[in-house]
């Protein structure tokens, strides 16, 4: 085990190195650049035996990743914002072809108005693409999750791509102490990639022909079931990883002081850490506050969530992106899942365009949730930290 003080971007790159990725098609975009720069360095220094492919666009990065994965190589790439949007067309080819590509997406707002700071409106729309999506809280989790992502993605019962999402700048460019597991340990946890189907002249297969209506619908159904089936693998992989490293992240979803909680906030990404501090503060004041940390939004842990909220009087849902003229996407997912649970749920929009979500704002969210307990007719969507007030 080695200790390093590194940014989350570098943690991601070391995670890819420890996963022994073989092909890395890459294109730069802030705040993702540190990832591909470090990988290029590691490869050019001979510390990582992989093929670095400096492609001419993100569309080509995902296209080359598809080719590499289909031809049997463990493939990694990383992007952000406009780059993810440019990949949009290609993202859809990956799950349907059951290619276990792992990609880090450093969350950043998608123009306009342009900005390079954290917002989830780049990755949230890609929930519809069939990629699994996990959101990261700190640098250690970023590293550990890349390694776990390959185990999950390449599991024969899953064979799906995973997008590891991390907050731009808040994580990508902030250094923290990170444990780097031994290569031997990672090797024992993550076996060599065994593709399900591979492009090979000795055993020719046709991948992704045109599917007429007689067949396409069943293919979609199979993908839908495969995403659902990934849930148990995600939990099992978290369990096994924690037995090796003593670090458990809870798999699909985690909680903090939820056991006897009456009110709780559901968060994802770095705001989770701020919300933890608020929970501690409220607990010290005798309030029964708790926290639900959503890790995966695909697969969406609907059943687990139902168990988590069983004894709550009110729940709030944090969103760092917006479906314009509606609610935040996480809220929509959560309320769908909890439709019949009968607890009041409020939506808390904050931190858009990279605006800081302070302790004060997170506290305000809990205050709103508390006020809303037992009040099902109250306002549903609250904006926090808006200049001029909401």
């Amino acid at each position: 085990m080695a200790m390093k003080v590194i940014s989350a971007d570098h943690a991601v790159a070391y995670g890819a190195k420890l996963s022994r990725v073989e092909v890395v098609p890459a294109f730069p975009i802030t705040p993702q650049t540190l990832i591909v720069e470090l990988l290029a360095e590691l490869i050019n220094d001979g510390e990582l035996d992989a093929h670095f492919m400096p492609v001419e666009s993100e569309h080509s990065a995902m296209s080359a990743a598809i080719g590499a994965s289909a031809a049997g190589a463990r493939t990694f790439t990383a992007t952000s914002s406009q780059g993810l949007a440019l990949m949009h067309e290609m993202l859809y080819a990956v799950p349907q072809n059951r290619l276990p590509i792992v990609m880090a997406n450093v969350n950043r707002s998608l123009g306009a108005a342009s900005g390079i700071w954290v917002e989830y409106n780049d990755s949230m729309p890609e929930r519809e693409s069939g990629w699994l999506q996990v959101y990261i809280e700190d640098n250690q989790e970023a590293l550990d999750m890349i390694i776990q992502a390959y185990r999950i993605a390449e599991d024969r019962n899953v064979m799906l791509p995973i997008m590891v999402c991390l907050d731009g700048f808040v994580l990508s460019h902030t250094v923290e102490r990170v444990d780097l597991p031994d290569q031997n340990l990672v090797d024992s946890f993550l076996p060599k990639f065994r593709p399900l189907h591979v492009l090979d002249p000795d055993e020719p297969v046709t991948m992704n022909p045109i599917a007429p209506p007689e067949y396409a619908m069943e293919m979609r159904y199979q993908l839908d079931r495969a995403i659902e089936g990934a849930k148990s693998v995600i939990n099992a992989v978290d369990h096994e990883y924690s037995s090796l490293t003593s670090r458990s992240y809870g798999g699909l979803i985690d909680s903090y002081h939820l056991e006897d909680a009456e009110i709780a906030l559901l968060t994802l990404g770095t705001v989770t850490s701020t919300a933890r501090a608020v929970v501690d503060y409220l607990r010290a004041k005798g309030k029964k506050a708790g926290l639900i940390k959503l890790r995966f939004i695909r697969p969406f842990p609907a059943e687990e969530l139902k168990l988590f909220v069983r004894d709550l009087k009110a729940l709030g849902v944090f969103d760092r992106s917006l479906s314009f003229n509606g609610y935040g996407p996480v809220f929509t997912e959560v309320r769908n899942a909890l439709y019949q649970e009968g607890i009041p749920i409020t939506n808390h929009i904050a931190g858009l365009g990279g605006r800081d979500v302070s302790f004060k704002e997170a506290l305000e969210m809990f205050q709103v949730i508390e006020k809303n307990a037992g009040n099902e007719k109250g306002m549903v969507c609250y904006w926090h930290g808006l200049r001029g007030g909401s």
Partner: protein, 324 residues
């Protein structure tokens, strides 16, 4: 691996990798080109096909017309996907496999140019084939950067004010050549020996290789199925299509017409040019001579091309054979 040299079509293997029963139109130049390229490339090949006629007529689930491993994903990414496939094969120590991408002119000249350029610039060890039927045929005959001057397409219609495409064909080969790729060549299905020799060279060369085949298209060119090869030959004889190669920087004309046949004879066989007046034909003829001069530093006398303006009104907007 020692390759048997292919000098003429008699040296070709009889083994087919584009099998019978695919869904191309009768007389399709693309099918002829692909079938023969496949016979030269042989078994150790992986093919990527972007959105185009070729994907539609070879890979409609649950059947497949290729005996090669096959992948399709999108329209504009041929250069990138084949680079990725090759990178994986290299990682896995798989040697002697030709990774080929076969794209239409739209997928190459226009939307796919960026990915083509990227792969060429990186000199990735792949073979890129452009099957040039001079329009977007799969979506029902729309103009592309490869469509010749004057040609009718559904997006360069023969109107009362503007008739046919007003721009000349993009010189894609010059663009590819500017990347300094190890091997590139233009091919015609009417010159089979030249054809197979070039495919063979492309197969055994390392690095990025580019083959550009002119592929007459029956519904798109408004021609007769039985005339596909004759039209391809006339394209070469009139100078509309030039057969040459650049092998590690050495440029060579591989076929030279004794004298250029007037372009009119080429145009006459195709409904897509039937509306063209004398002025436009002369413009196209001058473009050919100019091109020839620029490319090969040779003066060519403008062939005699006295033409009557066709009075007959032409209606060319029937339902296209191929849907979008």
């Amino acid at each position: 691996m020692q390759e048997k040299e292919i000098r003429t079509i008699k040296d070709l293997s009889r083994e087919e990798f584009l099998t019978k029963g695919h869904g191309a139109c009768p007389g399709c130049g693309v099918a002829v080109a692909v079938k023969n390229i496949a016979r030269v490339l042989g078994k150790n090949t992986i093919i990527y096909v972007p959105a185009s006629c070729l994907i539609v007529f070879t890979a409609l689930y649950p059947s497949s017309a290729f005996k090669w491993p096959f992948l399709y994903t999108a329209f504009e990414n041929t250069g990138a996907v084949i680079s990725g496939i090759k990178a994986a094969l290299e990682r896995r120590g798989k040697q002697g496999v030709t990774v080929v991408g076969m794209a239409g002119d739209g997928g190459t000249f226009d939307i796919g140019l960026q990915a083509l350029s990227g792969a060429a610039e990186r000199n990735d060890d792949v073979l890129y084939v452009c099957l040039d039927n001079e329009a977007y045929m799969n979506t029902g005959i729309q103009r592309s950067g490869a469509t010749p001057f004057g040609a009718w397409t559904t997006t360069s219609p023969v109107g009362k004010k503007i008739q046919g495409k007003r721009e000349f064909k993009k010189d894609l080969d010059a663009i590819v050549a500017a990347h300094g790729v190890p091997y590139m060549a233009t091919l015609s299905i009417a010159h089979p020996n030249d054809f197979v020799r070039k495919v063979q060279k492309a197969k055994i060369t390392n690095g990025f290789r580019f083959l550009h085949v002119l592929c007459p298209c029956v519904p798109g060119w408004r021609s007769e199925a039985s005339k596909t090869v004759a039209i391809a030959r006339l394209a070469v004889e009139t100078g509309m299509w030039t057969l040459y190669e650049i092998d590690h920087g050495v440029e060579k004309l591989t076929y030279k017409p004794r004298e250029l046949v007037p372009v009119k004879e080429y145009l006459q066989l195709q409904g897509r040019f039937r509306h063209m007046g004398e002025d436009d034909i002369e413009k196209l003829q001058n473009w050919i001579c100019e091109k020839w001069r620029n490319q090969f530093y040779e003066e060519v006398p403008v062939p005699p091309c006295k033409l009557e303006k066709v009075k007959k009104e032409l209606i060319l907007d029937e339902d296209p054979l191929h849907g979008p």
